[in-house]
């Protein structure tokens, strides 16, 4: 019997009981669809986290101090606090290529908050950042309209300001019209140099409700000459983040004469590590979802077995007739295997189709991202499910003795 004839016989077998075939197909397609969609959702949520973290800058180390951890041990909190405070000199030292060769750029950061006013419009900027121009590329905060300030502006404490999207919109309605205007921050006039590009939120705060000014200006006009809130360090490359972190730790420990017995008072947040952790979490999440989906695929497969068993029992007499007419064992086997595989494959195709449609929409707040291999895998598995779960009934059919099959009522 040629493959084409086998296929024809299998198709006739399937169409003989359309509703039953349809329901079996549905079972498999739900399984296959679930695998693809859930993997896509897992992948999508992983991607979303990754995108957000990448928006922060992946080569980024954020150095902050835990305050005066060691101070209390000595019973002199005040001086100890100051001993471990981050200073502009620390930032300068970290930028020294000889001391920390794996550091690409360093930006000291001081933060404050204040009310900005443009004529009658006022807006409370919850984060006014004082820093150097290196901050913008390091933290992946490009200036969208206008231009950034320069090192010269920092050196001469120019009263210039970069506004975040939200701040610019609140003050000027149209962010584009803000450039060149003068606003008041507290009691001081600032010239708006540029508007920052919009950023996705990485937490609860709106990252667009910010303003950035030269650190020297901030110190002179707003925050005073206190300690830095943090130092942002950009490593020279993605693979050099860890060495840069070691260099930073070593340098700061030496500069602040932290005793070897003490735990480091400096907290260094490594964005690559966060990214890695969140990717691991996402992978676990995806695996979990895929497992749940795989279970439904197995259930669909058992449905195929069930239906094929019913079919074989119901068509025992037909099998006997076919054998009396000269059908060989493997012909019968082939016919029933193809029937089972067709059920699974059609189910798989329907599942893929449904999954392609469903993944176009946001699911539970996540934009699913299709994993092409999951489609191939799901189709392959569904074919395998057909072969595997169909083989038992098919063998039963093929093994029937013609006379027993013919006598079956």
């Amino acid at each position: 019997m040629s493959p084409r004839d086998l296929m024809g016989a299998a198709l006739r077998g399937l169409t003989a009981n359309k509703l039953r075939s349809l329901l079996t197909v549905l079972g498999v397609s739900i399984g296959v669809g679930a695998v693809i969609v859930l993997v896509a959702v897992g992948n999508g949520s992983g991607k979303a986290v990754q995108d957000r973290l990448e928006a922060m800058g992946t080569n980024l180390l954020t150095v902050s101090t835990t305050g005066g951890g060691g101070g209390f041990v000595r019973g002199q909190a005040g001086p100890a606090n100051q001993q471990y405070s981050l200073t502009l000199d620390d930032a300068t030292a970290l930028a020294d290529k000889n001391l920390a060769p794996d550091v690409a750029s360093v930006a000291p950061v001081m933060t404050s908050s204040g009310t900005a006013t443009n004529g009658d419009t006022s807006y409370t900027v919850n984060q006014v950042i004082g820093t150097t121009p290196a901050y913008m590329p390091a933290t992946n905060t490009p200036v969208q309209i206008g231009s950034s300030f320069t090192q010269a502006d920092v050196d001469t404490s120019q009263r210039v300001i970069l506004l975040g999207q939200t701040a610019a919109t609140e003050l000027f309605t149209r962010p584009a019209s803000a450039v060149g205007q003068t606003i008041k921050l507290g009691a001081v006039d600032f010239t708006v140099l540029g508007v920052l590009a919009s950023k996705d939120s990485t937490g609860f705060n709106d990252p667009n409700a910010t303003a950035i000014v030269p650190i020297t200006t901030l110190r002179a006009t707003q925050a005073g000459y206190g300690a830095l809130s943090q130092i942002v360090v950009q490593a020279a490359g993605q693979d050099r983040v860890d060495t840069a972190q070691a260099e930073v730790t070593q340098l700061l420990t030496a500069r602040h004469q932290v005793p070897a017995t003490e735990t480091s008072p400096f907290r260094i947040t490594n964005s690559a590590q966060i990214l890695q952790t969140s990717q691991d979490t996402a992978a676990t999440f995806t695996a979990l979802l895929a497992t749940v989906a795989a279970i439904s695929l197995v259930v669909g497969g058992i449905g195929v077995t069930n239906i094929m068993l019913v079919t074989v029992t119901e068509r025992t007499r037909e099998i006997g007739i076919r054998k009396a007419l000269g059908a060989r064992r493997r012909t019968i086997l082939g016919q029933f295997l193809i029937e089972a595989t067709l059920l699974s494959l059609i189910g798989g195709a329907v599942g893929v189709g449904a999954a392609l449609i469903v993944t176009r929409f946001q699911l539970a707040g996540v934009q699913p991202v299709l994993v092409p291999s999951s489609i191939g895998l799901a189709l392959g598995v569904s074919a395998a499910v057909g072969l595997f779960f169909g083989s038992m009934p098919a063998h039963r059919a093929a093994g029937l003795r013609p006379i027993d099959a013919l006598r079956h009522e």
Partner: protein
């Protein structure tokens, strides 16, 4: 063994079950059928005539004894070779027609040709010719449930003839048919016999048996008489 004998069985027994509950369907049957013979096997129900027919048709295997079909020992054939024998050398006609449901007459007749690995075009041609032969050229697209009993049996005959087998085995072929259809089917058998085919008809009806040239009577698993009637 004479070269022209198509079927020869020697001391064939068939026992179902074991020990106390064993049923002896055949208790040592020897029979020789030459090519071109028209044989009727008669017997009451339970006489073992159906078991005999199943063994002759390679649908069942004897418990003991030999079966030579067309010069080869059936017991030595593999399962697949037996399937091949059923497909090529024997045409079956059953009491209950045994057409494949929900499948057209043409597709039913094509089936044994498919198993004989014929090409599609050739299959169609032969199946159409066989259906024409039984006078159903205008019913090729009908499904079994759209045909009368007589028509169904004619489709079954067409199917049995399609591969051009040497032997036709008919088990109570007219058992489910009215008088008119019975006449048609028996007339067809006469024609096929005239064409030189070997026909073995199992029946319990005397008028059916009377059409054959040789009458074998079976009772309680043994052949009780074997005579040439015409």
């Amino acid at each position: 063994m004479a070269a022209e004998s198509v079927i020869e069985i020697r001391e064939v027994t068939k026992t179902y079950g074991q020990g106390e509950t064993a049923v002896h369907a055949l208790r040592g049957v020897s029979l020789r059928i030459e090519a071109g013979e028209y044989v009727a096997v008669m017997g009451s129900s339970g006489s073992g005539k159906s078991t005999l027919m199943n063994i002759l048709g390679c649908l069942d295997v004897p418990s003991r004894g030999e079966y030579w079909l067309d010069g080869s020992d059936v017991a030595r054939l593999s399962e697949d070779q037996q399937a091949l024998v059923r497909g090529r050398k024997i045409g079956f006609i059953f009491q209950s027609f045994n057409l494949i449901p929900r499948t057209t007459a043409l597709a039913n007749v094509e089936l044994p040709l498919t198993y004989a690995h014929l090409r599609r075009g050739e299959r169609r041609k032969r199946a159409n010719r066989a259906l024409e032969l039984v006078g159903l050229a205008d019913r090729t697209g009908h499904r079994p449930n759209e045909l009368s009993g007589g028509q169904q049996q004619r489709v079954a005959i067409a199917r049995a003839l399609a591969t051009g087998p040497r032997i036709l085995l008919a088990d109570e072929p007219t058992g489910n048919l009215d008088a008119h259809s019975t006449d048609e089917v028996l007339g067809m058998f006469d024609d096929l016999h005239a064409d030189g085919r070997t026909i073995i008809v199992i029946t319990h009806e005397h008028d059916v048996a009377a059409r054959a040239r040789r009458l074998v009577q079976v009772s309680d698993g043994r052949i009780v008489s074997d005579e040439v009637t015409r």
